[in-house]
């Protein structure tokens, strides 16, 4: 059995934002928001991007959609590089990828009825009109767990969870192959979060959708991700299958991130590493390994050498000088 077909292939993606200052708005530096990120997603697969604020995970999502223009690198959707296309050429490809945003309050037009919001992409691409359109929207509403008669309502009449369902219906309308979901459940209460996560999983199984799922919440990521990429300061520091990443995290940052997340089990005794200090500024990232300023295992050469992302075990990629190819995942000895 061959692997499912590739839907998205991102190579060496970079997004640098110029920083302007002074009367003449001279460029005084760049924010290296995304600085060389590569990954691929196959049909029916969920790749999660996880990391803390400012690590560049949302910028990756927006750049993949070309809602922001990449500074460098390629984004192949179904085998075609979309980074060089003009807006008209891009339109045809956009139909294959849709985005669901974090905030269901600001991502829906308050002046449009729910039915109009979901039908817009369909009329935009000339997919359906008239009674066929109404029927299609009713189907979509029912598929995401909304009543078809809610079509005439406006966004403010829905709860947060229902609005997120509406956003998902809008994304599904054009039968995309890839859905980019940028923190889709972060603004929802936990009891509603479960409803939306279950819906996303069901839809993936039904339509074999590929998901690029951006989140800061490790529990959500562990639940929904087939493969997980951990980002730190614009780079992927570790990329592995769900079981490998959570079972044998290899990068010291992943290890610290997992240890920091509080678990809903009282009395669980864990020796936890608490990282000191803050994430450095992405305008002026540290030399060598970007994590060396907070890493408990850093060696002198970590300050100098920027470690490449290597496949150290089958399917398990990590960017750390202390985790060479063939590493066994044994605990590292501390240096600090």
């Amino acid at each position: 059995m061959s692997a499912p077909e590739m839907v998205l292939k991102v190579q060496d993606l970079k997004k640098h934002f110029p920083v302007h200052k002074g009367l003449l708005s001279r460029v005084v530096g760049h924010v290296f928001a995304v600085d060389g990120v590569s990954f691929e997603i196959r049909r029916g697969e969920t790749l999660c991007l996880v990391g803390e604020s400012g690590c560049g995970k949302s910028t990756v999502a927006k750049t993949v959609m070309r809602l922001q223009e990449p500074t460098a690198g390629t984004v192949e959707l179904n085998g075609a590089d979309i980074t060089k296309l003009d807006q008209e050429e891009l339109r045809a490809h956009r139909r294959q990828m849709q985005i669901v945003f974090q905030d269901p309050y600001s991502s829906l037009n308050p002046r449009m009825s729910a039915g109009a919001i979901v039908s817009e992409p369909l009329t935009n691409y000339g997919i359906a009109a008239g009674p066929e359109l109404t029927q299609r929207i009713a189907q979509l509403f029912e598929r995401v767990g909304l009543r078809a008669d809610a079509m005439v309502k406006y966004p403010h009449e829905f709860s947060g969870g229902q609005r997120q369902r509406l956003g998902i219906a809008r994304a599904l309308a054009v039968n995309p192959r890839l859905i980019v979901a940028d923190e889709p459940v972060s603004a929802l209460d936990v009891s509603v979060q479960a409803q939306v996560l279950n819906l996303l999983i069901d839809l993936q199984e039904e339509f074999q959708l590929a998901y690029l799922f951006v989140s800061h919440d490790l529990a959500v990521v562990e639940h929904i991700g087939h493969r997980i990429a951990v980002m730190y300061l614009g780079r992927i520091v570790e990329l592995a299958d769900n079981a490998d990443l959570f079972g044998t995290p290899l990068h010291p940052y992943t290890e610290a991130l997992l240890a920091a997340a509080p678990l809903p089990e009282p009395g669980l005794k864990r020796e936890r590493i608490i990282l000191q200090g803050d994430v450095p500024s992405p305008m002026n990232p540290p030399s060598g390994c970007r994590f060396h300023t907070r890493c408990p295992y850093a060696l002198p050469e970590c300050k100098v050498t920027d470690p490449p992302l290597l496949e150290v075990a089958p399917g398990h990629h990590v960017a750390c000088l202390r985790r060479p190819v063939g590493t066994d995942g044994a605990p590292l000895t501390r240096t600090a």
């Binding site: 490790l218 608490i274 990282l275």
Partner: protein, 351 residues
């Protein structure tokens, strides 16, 4: 650059003889809007013992923050008010105090930390001035002494180079450092009670771990009782001694933290615990990508009077009586209280 923190040990319940420092009885707070009366807090009672950590957990709109604001007398006049019940702090009734009397307690004996450290700090004063202001008002220190105290507090909350940082403005600090400053201000007068409303919700997870550890460490050192308000069951499990679960302005359940997580009684508490994706310790991971248990439906509107149990419309155990009569908040196990008519049947059903 890193330190190994001792594993936060399982907090032991406050000793039974510890005296009650804050006592809330049948608190009712309502807001008056054009669309009607919102019953934000609808008859909440609890005691806080000296040096104890009490967590109040619930989803948005359950009344947990309004409970905190009511204790501190911070309900904006005109929008709403406390319509019933009492809040006694060290024997003094707070709900009837004048604003001037309340100001002597607030920030001095009872302090508060809010979710968003950027909006709760004044952008035009240095952080040192903001700590010094609190101690000079409440403790009558002169400028020199107050400034020294500010620097002492900044080093207590582990801000590196406190002398320099005291002269900086909030925008020059990171989110985690701002929350440390908030803690420094809150603890500067050695309060008996610290109310922390979602203190780490706006912070990244590695910074959250730093701040929670700091709060627990200072609590042990200074003996401050903490009311921690959160929506995050992970934070509850790692910090609380006792937990109150709120739903729609009422208490649903109350117990010691171990007891609550091991033997939840109320269907809402059980639903909440089942609906969170579980991250368990490495090696004992739960099954990946099973369906999460959902709590169907949405929270009720607080604009209408709810005659029965507020959770009944979403509850799989609800019977007729649940929609008609409000269940009493009573013990179903030793020191474990819940408001549920069908508790016996719920407990008998495996989770």
């Amino acid at each position: 650059m890193t330190a190994v923190a001792p594993a936060v040990s399982a907090p032991i319940a406050a000793p039974a003889h510890a005296e009650t420092i804050l006592s809330v009885r049948d608190l009712r707070t309502q807001f008056f809007t054009r669309d009607g009366v919102v019953r934000a807090v609808d008859g909440v009672s609890f005691d806080l013992k000296r040096g104890e950590t009490l967590c109040i957990v619930g989803e948005s709109g359950c009344g947990k923050s309004v409970t905190a604001l009511s204790i501190l007398g911070l309900i904006p006049a005109g929008a709403g008010r406390i319509v019933g019940g009492s809040v006694r702090f060290e024997g003094t009734e707070l709900t009837t105090l004048s604003e001037a009397e309340m100001r002597r307690i607030r920030g001095n004996r009872i302090s508060m930390i809010f979710q968003e450290p950027m909006t709760s700090l004044n952008p035009v004063f240095t952080v040192g001035q903001q700590i010094a202001e609190s101690v000079s008002i409440h403790q009558g220190l002169n400028r020199r002494q107050a400034w020294d105290r500010a620097i002492e507090m900044l080093s207590l909350v582990k801000i590196a180079d406190p002398k320099r940082r005291a002269g900086e403005y909030p925008h020059q600090l990171s989110g985690g450092m701002r929350q440390r400053v908030m803690i420094a201000i809150a603890l500067a007068c050695n309060p008996q009670v610290l109310i922390a409303d979602e203190p780490t919700t706006a912070l990244d997870v590695t910074i959250q771990a730093q701040i929670l550890n700091l709060m627990l460490e200072l609590k042990d050192r200074l003996g401050t009782a903490i009311i921690l308000i959160t929506h995050d069951l992970g934070v509850v499990a790692e910090t609380a001694q006792r937990v109150i679960v709120m739903y729609a302005g009422r208490k649903a359940e109350e117990a010691a933290v171990d007891e609550l997580f091991r033997h939840p009684i109320h269907p809402y508490t059980r639903g909440l615990m089942a609906s969170i994706p579980r991250r368990s310790a490495a090696g004992r991971r739960s099954q990946v990508r099973g369906r999460l248990q959902e709590i169907t439906g949405i929270v009720p509107s607080l604009r209408e009077e709810i005659p029965g149990c507020a959770f009944a419309p979403r509850c799989g155990f609800a019977v007729d009586r649940c929609t008609r009569e409000q269940p009493p908040f009573e013990a179903h196990r030793p020191a474990h209280f819940a408001a549920c008519w069908e508790a016996a049947r719920v407990v008998g059903t495996p989770r």
